[in-house]
């Protein structure tokens, strides 16, 4: 009777613990409906404190100018844009999971997509802070928007990759937010229907947008998901491509590199999945969702990490090769001296990057490692450190010693407000994430239910029994012939 299978028996179940629909609802809604734990409060307070420190840091910078950071006449971008690219990269996993995996009908995405999408939105929010506040005159930010104006009209410069960033990131944020929110609608409706308190009814009532669960709603919901997935899919590739253009289209040795678009996209997915791992390993434990976010999910994502990590590694080696093969004095200096040379002022940062991004993920060739939660968590942190350094290496070690040796810079270390700004975005990210885990279902309730009957372990087991039945028995059991 194997013809009756929805899914190969080889595939491990995506939902464990023999769940029924109701049980799924109960499990996933529990954290939302119960009082937050002590751990939640502690985590939330710490995040809020970080956020406040970030606010102070940014305030200092806005009042006194960018001189509050230790950037200088040679290094115009440092931690600010490094952090920007890093956060943007992190966002990419969410979009990849929700959009591309949806189009490829990857059922396992349902366990992680909600959290990953939320992470995308928060990460893009954090990322956006940097290009905004790295500006010397942030109050004139509207100059960067193309709209008919009374200043001439004076238009933006469509040649500038920074302007492309404005479009790319705002589009990305909008689409990601819509995707996330439209996916939330059925779950919000469940919460509304279960709500007992007045304010909960009101809040979820409004946010559920009048969702009734009618067939028409479901049909539209599915279509919308597909359309948004279609829109998001190119974004996964385009956003980081455009971010990479900030560097690739410039003339600075080390920036001016045609390999950047694919290399940045791979790196973004790499770091994004690492961040998803970091978050979910904790979330599933704390919220008791191990049966929905299973070790299988973790393993699949570790596979993505080793794949993208290796792509990034090849990109690094290609760059090195090209800088040698190209025989361009300036470019080879940027790579061989500024980066590869461990004794050069920033050589250490290159080797941290290499170690974290290329060497360490290689342990995931072993499935034992892929399925080890502690290792996974540790590796996810390591990868994100590595990917932060990748951006730092690209940005700082290229400009600090470029064409004219007269302008080579003194050693750049961040000031307290630069560090504060970065920590502040962590504060923003985790504050949002904590609120998200408290007020929204962390796992997509409706989507889990979609796959429950084909990938849930209870149903898989039932299928096993059916499997053993002969076809006559099966027909007999399931026919409406009541023993005539």
């Amino acid at each position: 009777m194997s013809l009756l299978r929805y899914e190969s028996q080889v595939r491990p179940p995506l939902v464990k613990g023999n769940k029924e629909y109701h049980q799924v609802t109960e499990d996933i809604c529990r954290p939302v409906e119960s009082k937050p734990s002590r751990a939640w409060w502690i985590g939330f307070s710490i995040s809020l404190a970080f956020l406040l420190f970030g606010v102070v840091s940014v305030t200092m910078e806005v009042i006194y100018g960018v001189g509050q950071w230790n950037l200088n006449k040679t290094i115009g971008w440092g931690w600010d844009i490094t952090n920007f690219v890093w956060w943007i990269g992190i966002g990419h996993a969410g979009t990849l999971i929700s959009a591309i995996l949806l189009l490829f009908r990857q059922g396992w995405r349902t366990g992680v997509n909600r959290a990953a999408e939320a992470m995308t939105i928060f990460a893009v929010m954090c990322a956006g802070q940097f290009p905004i506040f790295h500006m010397g005159r942030v109050w004139d930010i509207f100059f960067s928007l193309p709209y008919p104006n009374t200043r001439g009209p004076l238009w933006v410069n469509f040649n500038s990759p920074l302007l492309w960033d404005v479009f790319a990131i705002s589009t990305y944020f909008t689409v990601s937010l819509l995707f996330w929110y439209s996916g939330l609608l059925p779950d919000l409706a469940s919460l509304r229907d279960r709500a007992k308190k007045k304010w909960r009814k009101l809040f979820y009532g409004i946010t559920a947008f009048g969702w009734t669960g009618s067939t028409k709603h479901w049909q539209r919901h599915e279509s919308l998901s597909l359309v948004l997935a279609g829109l998001s899919t190119p974004l996964v590739l385009s956003v980081h491509t455009i971010v990479s253009f900030d560097f690739a289209t410039s003339v600075i040795p080390g920036w001016h590199t045609t390999i950047f678009p694919p290399y940045f996209v791979a790196g973004a997915i790499f770091s994004g999945f690492a961040m998803v791992q970091t978050l979910l390993v904790i979330t599933r434990k704390v919220l008791g969702l191990e049966q929905y976010i299973t070790i299988e999910h973790i393993e699949v994502m570790n596979k993505v990490i080793i794949l993208t990590g290796s792509i990034v590694g090849i990109a690094y080696l290609t760059e090195l090769f090209m800088s040698w093969y190209g025989a361009n004095q300036y470019e080879s200096f940027a790579f061989m001296e500024n980066r590869l040379n461990l004794n050069s002022p920033y050589g250490w940062s290159y080797w941290i990057m290499m170690g974290c991004n290329v060497l360490s993920p290689q342990i995931f060739w072993s499935s034992k490692m892929r399925r080890n939660i502690t290792i996974t968590f540790f590796m996810s942190i390591l990868v994100n450190i590595g990917m932060w350094f990748e951006r730092f290496v690209i940005i700082v070690t290229s400009v600090y010693r470029d064409y004219l040796p007269s302008s080579w810079s003194t050693y750049y270390t961040p000031s307290i407000w630069e560090i504060g700004f970065y920590l502040g975005t962590f504060g923003l990210f985790f504050t949002c994430y904590f609120l998200f885990t408290k007020y929204f279902p962390v796992v997509a309730l409706a989507e889990i239910k979609h796959i429950l009957k084909r990938s849930g372990d209870g149903y898989k087991n039932k299928m096993n029994e059916i499997e053993k039945q002969g076809s006559d028995d099966f027909v007999k059991e399931h026919s409406h012939d009541h023993g005539a």
């Binding site: 009042i63 100018g65 230790n70 005159r137 410069n157």
Partner: protein, 1046 residues
């Protein structure tokens, strides 16, 4: 300025108390609230109406307050406009920059009654309009907030204001009554009328004292020529120039004049391959040494021996002192060159030793320099002080034989070799009077302070060279209660005239008519030039003494110390000038400090830092961090601690320390903490002052001190497209080597058309149909004097950021002079060449910065200029990152107080601003700002604009006169400041313009910096050629190995 009264109403005219009270009240009438009783408006008869009034008023007030970002300040227009003054149109007055003996004929640009910029006076035959950094910066001294604002006298320990000069005169005359032996101590005075004034003062003894003394030369000339004077030099006439420690392009005697002469032989124009040969013997790396073709380093105590050795090779009548092999070879080579160029050679020496200067005179006589490159028909008068007279004065003061000491321009308490002795001797003088602009170390000790005018407020004249008169006329009404010291002298000696009247009479009498005087004032200069160089009558009488004196010279100790002057600071008279403090030293690129300069080998020995073979991390630790090791230098009982800068080209046994630092805090907060006083290491040999020590001990203190450098890397890393420099021999062998690179570039990018410009890019070409501005910088002419850098500061309101910000690499210079060392591969201390490359915005026609600006704040003009729209700039710094020349500067903080944000200059945790930034924001100091140039606010990028305001002015003037623009209508500030015409600016489309000619005539040396990335700069450079014989292997670029940057 008249005493007009401006009034609005009769109340103000009558100045009634009621009116004043009313005007001080912002709202002159109360709002008609019906609740205008004590009860408050809620209890009023009609609270609703009052409420609406309050609401209306507060809304209006709030919106008004929100709308007014900047408080409105009213300017009062002229009641009766003088016919010759139009607001907004600059007037130019010929006058003279005077600082002690130094005098440079200048033209002061006066905008709306205030001088804002110094230009050279092109009518002067000896400077031809050249200036130096100090003259350029001097306009800022006028607006120094630390200037004395009124006469003062000392009561107890404190100075007390004396309300009027009449009262002061009375006090001083009373004090001087019955006191005999008045002495006037000044720095060199070159003004004939002032000397006449001094002569009129009964029984006044006048002593001249120079902080950088030329007594040795004056006395040697007295021995050899019977004249205590300095002849004039003409470096233009010398094919071979030998300098023994004379920094004649930087600080020696008359550097502006000498630089201009010097480069005439080094321009290599129009295929000319002949240039002068310049040998420099010195102990440290001076700016002159940096320009030399061959440098030989020696200990300062060996100068005499080297000079004598040269003499003996040339003459043979004296025995040669013992020299090491290398020095001997050099001396032989130099002697051969000198012999071969008899009559076309010149030897100068910076020593202040009579014996050495006597031998130098002998050498010059042997090589026929007199009557050729040295001219006795005109003398240089800018140094007249005789050290011995000063020493005698101090002895007399100590013995109580001086009753009154008046001091002008001299500051012995700071720069005298026995400053302590002077200070204690001064206490024994009954009446001490200081004529000074600012409190300094000496005037602090005097009883009476008689503030004098700044030169821009003064009348007068100078005669820096005989028969070369340059007049001084006021360009502004005196800002404070000051009086020329000549007037004081006239008053106290019983004359009724003030100096102004006296001066005018003196010159009208001399010139015959007041019309002639007016013409002379207008021209600024009155020069009668003799074209016949005279030899003077040389006699060898002092020779034996000199030879004996040199032969008995003691050998120096392990480490010797030499004092030197920086082009920016000189002897420190203008130390309170922020522009000069922030001007990077051309050699060390350091600002705001002095330091001990030592060779790499000495650094290895004393500090354990091996910059040659050491570990890369150790080297980087020295190079990439501003914290430099501090050493303690001890000589006898004097010691100072100074940070170390390690340079190539230093004598291995010598450390060099710049004088002019460590000034008193009463000069202003600017100088606080800026270096240490190195004059403590000067000493007297009984006759003259020596600016070196034969033996000092140097120990590593283990401390660190931040030195603010604007450039940290010294080598150009063999980057062929960044600077092009070679030896004359290689250039002769392959004169087309630079041109070939350019041709190859065109060939590889545009094999068919050869049009590199169009085919090197995907972007459309900027059409420049009419004018096209371009600049040419001749690296062979640049002597790194820094005049252009300061001129750029002054012209373009470039902010001063202070040491704390320079340390953070936040300096704002629009124009910088990049300096690269070329060392021997085997021995890094052995310096082969120093390359100076003035670097400013290259105004690329395919500018990387323009592409990347998201808001198009930087864009390209139809005349080829890269423009900045400051109020469009949002400060992403993308343009600065993408600029391959790194010339864009970001306003990291509100350096100039241009923001409407309140209290944004009181940073406390990060980026605390130095007091100098606040001083530069003072209302008085801000008077120096050029109203034609926007003062940039925090958060925007700025950079060289090709002085677009001057270009616009030139275009408008041409338009007003209904003619086409001609060459010279528009000149940048750097170009006009340059004494050597290294910088040429103009319209490239005009085939007759200087810039077009410079490019055509120097085609073989022409290059653009990193041209292969297709930025298409509008600034070209002319390669540096050293006149040496070593042939360097020329790499032939068969095919240009470059990466296409589109």
């Amino acid at each position: 300025m008249s005493d007009n009264k401006y009034w609005q109403g009769f109340g103000e005219l009558a100045a009634t108390g009621e009116h004043e009270k009313r005007t001080q009240n912002e709202f002159q009438e109360d709002l008609p609230f019906e609740a205008n009783n004590e009860k408050g408006w809620l209890d009023a008869a009609t609270p609703r109406r009052d409420f609406l009034k309050y609401l209306g008023f507060s809304t209006a007030a709030a919106s008004l307050a929100a709308g007014c970002r900047i408080p409105v300040k009213n300017a009062i227009p002229f009641g009766n406009k003088p016919a010759e003054i139009s607001p907004g149109v600059a007037k130019y007055y010929a006058t003279t920059y005077v600082q002690d003996g130094d005098a440079i004929p200048i033209v002061a640009k006066v905008r709306d009654g205030r001088p804002i910029k110094i230009e050279g006076n092109e009518l002067s035959v000896f400077t031809k309009g050249g200036t130096n950094a100090r003259a350029q910066a001097s306009v800022l001294d006028l607006y120094d907030t630390y200037r004395l604002t009124h006469p003062k006298r000392k009561v107890g320990d404190k100075f007390e204001e004396v309300p009027t000069f009449e009262q002061l005169d009375e006090l001083i005359i009373n004090a001087m009554a019955g006191v005999s032996n008045p002495v006037l101590l000044t720095s060199t005075i070159t003004s004939p009328s002032t000397k006449a004034v001094i002569a009129k003062y009964p029984s006044l003894k006048h002593i001249q004292y120079d902080a950088d003394s030329f007594s040795g030369m004056l006395l040697a000339n007295e021995t050899c020529f019977g004249k205590r004077a300095i002849p004039s030099y003409n470096f233009e006439k010398a094919k071979v120039i030998v300098s023994f420690g004379a920094d004649f392009l930087g600080t020696w005697l008359s550097p502006v004049e000498f630089s201009r002469q010097y480069v005439q032989q080094r321009k290599l124009k129009g295929g000319n391959l002949e240039m002068s040969k310049h040998f420099q013997f010195e102990s440290y790396l001076s700016t002159t040494g940096a320009s030399a073709d061959e440098r030989i380093t020696h200990r300062p105590s060996e100068t005499g021996a080297l000079v004598l050795a040269l003499y003996s090779v040339l003459d043979g009548s004296v025995s040669t002192p013992i020299l090491d092999k290398k020095q001997k070879a050099s001396i032989d080579k130099v002697a051969a060159e000198l012999k071969a160029h008899r009559g076309n050679a010149l030897v100068v020496c910076g020593s202040n030793d009579v014996a050495i200067q006597t031998i130098i005179n002998g050498i010059n006589e042997l090589i026929n320099a007199y009557g050729n490159a040295i001219d006795w028909s005109t003398t240089i008068n800018c140094r007249q002080g005789i050290d011995k007279e000063m020493n005698e004065l101090v002895d007399k003061m100590e013995a109580g034989q001086v009753g009154t000491l008046m001091i002008y321009g001299a500051n012995p308490a700071y720069d005298y070799h026995a400053a302590e002795k002077f200070t204690s001797a001064l206490k024994k003088v009954k009446v001490t009077i200081s004529f000074t602009e600012k409190l300094d170390e000496t005037s602090e000790l005097c009883t009476f302070l008689v503030p004098t005018h700044h030169y821009l407020e003064s009348w007068g004249e100078t005669e820096p060279k005989s028969n070369h008169i340059s007049f001084i006329q006021p360009t502004i009404h005196p800002l404070f209660k000051t009086r020329p010291y000549q007037t004081s002298l006239l008053k106290w000696s019983g004359n009724t005239n003030d100096y102004e009247t006296y001066f005018k009479q003196y010159w009208i009498e001399k010139l015959g008519s007041s019309a002639a005087f007016d013409v002379a004032l207008q021209n600024g200069v009155l020069e009668s030039v003799s074209n016949n160089s005279t030899t003077g009558s040389f006699n060898k009488s002092g020779f034996n003494v000199a030879v004996a004196s040199i032969s008995s010279e003691k050998k120096g100790g392990n480490i010797e110390l030499v004092l030197y002057q920086k082009v920016s600071m000189g002897t420190g008279k203008q130390a309170g000038n922020p522009w000069l403090q922030e001007l990077p030293d051309p050699i060390t690129k350091a600002t705001w400090d002095n330091y001990a300069v030592m060779s790499m080998s000495m650094a290895k020995e004393i500090l354990g830092i091996d910059l040659v073979k050491g570990k890369e991390r150790e080297i980087n630790k020295y190079e990439y961090f501003p914290e430099k090791p501090v050493v303690k230098i001890t000589k006898d009982n004097k010691e100072i601690e100074l940070p170390v800068l390690i340079l190539p080209g230093m004598n291995a046994n010598t450390i060099a320390v710049a004088v002019g630092y460590g000034r008193t805090g009463s000069l202003g907060k600017v100088v606080e903490g800026a270096g240490k006083n190195a004059f403590v290491f000067s000493s007297s040999n009984g006759v003259t002052t020596e600016y070196f020590s034969r033996n000092v001990s140097v120990t590593n203190t283990g401390k660190k001190y931040k030195v603010a450098q604007t450039q940290i890397h010294n080598s150009y890393e063999d980057r062929k497209e960044v600077v092009k420099e070679t030896s004359l021999a290689s250039f002769k062998k392959d004169p087309d080597q630079y041109k070939k690179f350019r041709d190859d570039l065109a060939k590889s990018y545009a094999p068919l058309t050869g049009d590199y410009r169009k085919e090197g890019t995907l972007y459309p070409d900027h059409a420049q149909p009419g004018l096209k501005w371009g600049m040419s910088v001749d690296m062979n002419s640049c002597v790194a004097c820094g005049a252009c850098v300061v001129a750029c500061h002054a012209e373009n309101n470039v902010p001063v950021v202070g040491k704390s910000e320079v340390v953070r690499y936040h300096d704002m210079h629009w124009l910088r002079i990049d300096r690269y060392f070329v060392s021997d591969k085997e021995n890094a201390d052995d310096l082969k060449s120093v390359v100076f490359q003035p670097m400013m915005c290259q105004h690329c026609d395919n500018a990387p910065c323009e592409n990347v600006c998201p808001v198009a704040a930087t864009n390209h003009s139809a005349e080829g200029m890269n423009q900045m729209a400051y109020n469009r700039c949002i400060g992403t710094r993308y343009c600065a990152n993408n600029c391959p020349y790194k010339v864009r500067r970001f306003n990291w903080a509100d350096y100039l107080g241009a923001d409407s944000f309140p209290n944004n200059q009181d940073q406390k945790i990060v980026g605390k601003l130095d007091p100098v930034v606040h001083q530069m924001n003072d209302d008085l100091t801000r008077m120096v700002l050029n109203p034609d140039v926007t003062v940039r606010s925090r958060g925007v990028i700025e950079k060289c604009s090709f002085c677009v305001q001057r270009v616009q002015e030139g275009k408008l003037n041409a338009k007003k006169e209904n003619r086409v623009l001609i060459d010279g209508d528009a000149r940048t500030a750097c170009m006009t400041a340059c004494p050597t015409e290294a910088i040429v600016f103009g319209n490239v489309h005009d085939k007759e313009s200087k810039i077009s000619k410079a490019r055509v005539e120097n085609e073989q040396r022409l290059f653009y910096v990193i041209e292969q990335i297709h930025t298409l700069p509008n600034v070209n450079y002319l390669a540096k050629i050293r006149n040496t014989d070593d042939v360097e292997e020329v790499e032939h670029h068969e095919e240009v190995k470059t990466e296409a940057h589109h």
